[in-house]
């Protein structure tokens, strides 16, 4: 069972000698093979939630469990796609994607096979021996995603993975992510501030409040998607035109707007 459970999680940080609460009793679940998007204003602690599931940060109180076990350290069973790519600049595209496979002890031939498949999936064929700085931002992020996908992890943690991409590339990546997810469902926690993206991709959308981050509401998308049969549309813009889509998007927008206080930007 590869689910993610955040149970009553609080976390405070120190900055300039002052303690401030970043997350306040946050609880939500990403069920096995469920795609959960977390949206909220910047600084609401959504990235911290993901980092806790990854084992890169730890709750002050409450617990974070993945597959029923308290998260104690990072590990390749939970692949992370970082917002700032975090590709190793001194390694080639191939070596970057290979990095996690070597931790898992995957043999050379099988690794080559899996890497080739993911390079193809991410449209990166022919760039195996390029270094990250020789690629565009969009291509770098595709390498970062390939580095995660190639492990075939039970849990995929994505921190605004498409944030740095141009609109066209982002659309292609979103469609791709949905397609791959249907073929090979896995548990995904997807951090974003783009409401469109969250509604398009996720089964459920967790809406967070501004600091200290709490859960404002969890919006179910899957029932609507199944009832209205969004899956029969191949292109993202066709789905985004649907009344049911617009309705959900507006609902989440309103939730986020409510907390936007006068004087804020």
């Amino acid at each position: 069972m590869a689910n993610i459970v955040l149970d009553n999680v609080s976390r405070s940080f120190r900055r300039d000698g002052k303690e401030f609460l970043a997350l306040d009793r946050v609880s939500f679940v990403c069920n096995e093979h469920e795609f959960v998007a977390v949206v909220g204003p910047s600084g609401c602690g959504k990235t911290t939630c993901m980092r806790m599931a990854a084992g890169l940060d730890f709750p002050g109180s409450g617990s974070v469990k993945v597959g029923g076990k308290v998260v104690k350290a990072p590990g390749p069973d939970r692949a992370v796609v970082f917002q700032q790519f975090a590709l190793f600049p001194w390694k080639t595209v191939y070596e970057n994607i290979e990095f996690g496979l070597r931790s898992l002890g995957v043999g050379r031939d099988e690794a080559a096979d899996r890497i080739a498949r993911n390079l193809k999936l991410m449209n990166l064929e022919g760039y195996e021996s390029a270094y990250p700085h020789q690629l565009s931002g969009g291509m770098q992020q595709r390498v970062a995603i390939a580095r995660a996908y190639v492990l075939n992890p039970d849990v995929l943690l994505m921190d605004e993975p498409f944030g740095a991409l141009d609109a066209q590339t982002r659309t292609v990546m979103q469609e791709e992510l949905l397609r791959v997810g249907r073929a090979n469902p896995r548990t995904v926690m997807f951090i974003t501030h783009a409401v469109d993206e969250a509604v398009y991709l996720a089964d459920r959308v967790v809406v967070m409040t501004r600091r200290p981050g709490t859960i404002m509401q969890i919006v179910d998308v899957k029932p609507v998607r199944d009832a209205e049969d969004w899956q029969k549309y191949e292109r993202i813009e066709d789905v985004m035109d649907l009344e049911s889509f617009v309705h959900l998007r507006t609902r989440i927008w309103r939730l986020l707007r409510e907390q936007h206080q006068p004087g804020d930007h």
Partner: protein, 259 residues
């Protein structure tokens, strides 16, 4: 800073500096500001240098003395790098190692390399062992400090990515800290290379049975300033060549990273 000078202009300025230096020297020697014995003409130094290529002084030709010095230097410097760089990186990752080594290191590194001479001569002799230890004393600290600092200041996102993708401690040191700190390590090697070479010549002046330093001390005893100067030029030129080589490596590393 200030205005940007073109490459050609910079070269002319460097050349002008050298010309002024040799001009003043030649003039001072010409008018015998000091006796020739103490202030020879530049041309006399060159002549002496050429002579020394074929005529041994203190048992060796110039290149013979240089070869002995360089051999000691390379062995001492490479030993310092081979111990200092890995140790610095490991200290940057393993806190306990940092705690074990740092107090010891901090108390030893203020002993000037030259101050190791009596001890090194007693323990390792004046052949290759003693001088090697003195070079090690001079070259070790910058190797270790730069590798350590490089490792401590690696962008945490790379370490997090390595952890998320399952890398063990040794693998993080070798595949993340080492390449990420490479620019800092090479800067440290450049400092080490200079410090090591300086300490070797210093050591040879005091205690050695051969080498450029010994040649210079013997020449001093024989009141032959030309040979002393030939020795200084040889030391300076070799030190510069090593630095140029290391700078070349530095540039290549940076280019590969897209800087």
């Amino acid at each position: 800073m200030g205005d940007k000078l073109k490459r050609a202009e910079l070269m002319w300025l460097s050349l002008a500096g050298l010309l002024i230096f040799f001009g003043v020297w030649t003039f001072a020697a010409w008018v015998e500001l000091a006796p020739r014995k103490f202030l020879p003409l530049p041309s006399q130094v060159v002549e002496r240098g050429i002579e020394l290529l074929t005529q041994p002084f203190s048992g060796q030709t110039l290149q013979g003395h240089l070869a002995v010095s360089i051999e000691r230097y390379l062995s001492g410097f490479l030993l310092a790098a081979a111990v200092g760089v890995p140790l610095g990186l490991l200290m940057g990752w393993y806190r306990w190692l940092d705690n074990v080594i740092t107090p010891l290191f901090d108390s030893l590194r203020f002993i000037a390399p030259i101050a190791w001479v009596p001890f090194a001569a007693l323990w390792f002799g004046t052949g290759i062992g003693g001088p090697m230890m003195i070079i090690f004393a001079g070259a070790f600290a910058p190797c270790l400090i730069n590798a350590y600092r490089g490792a401590r200041f690696v962008d945490p996102k790379y370490i997090e990515a390595a952890q998320v993708y399952g890398a063990s401690g040794p693998r993080i040191v070798y595949e993340v800290l080492l390449p990420a700190s490479l620019p800092s390590i090479i800067a440290g090697l450049r400092i080490s290379a200079g410090a090591g070479w300086q300490s070797l010549i210093g050591a040879e002046l005091i205690a050695a049975n051969s080498g450029v330093g010994l040649m210079m001390v013997r020449a001093q005893g024989a009141l032959d300033t030309s040979i002393v100067m030939v020795g200084m030029v040889a030391v300076g030129v070799f030190g510069m060549l090593v630095d140029v080589a290391l700078r070349g490596i530095e540039k290549r590393v940076q280019r590969k990273r897209g800087h």
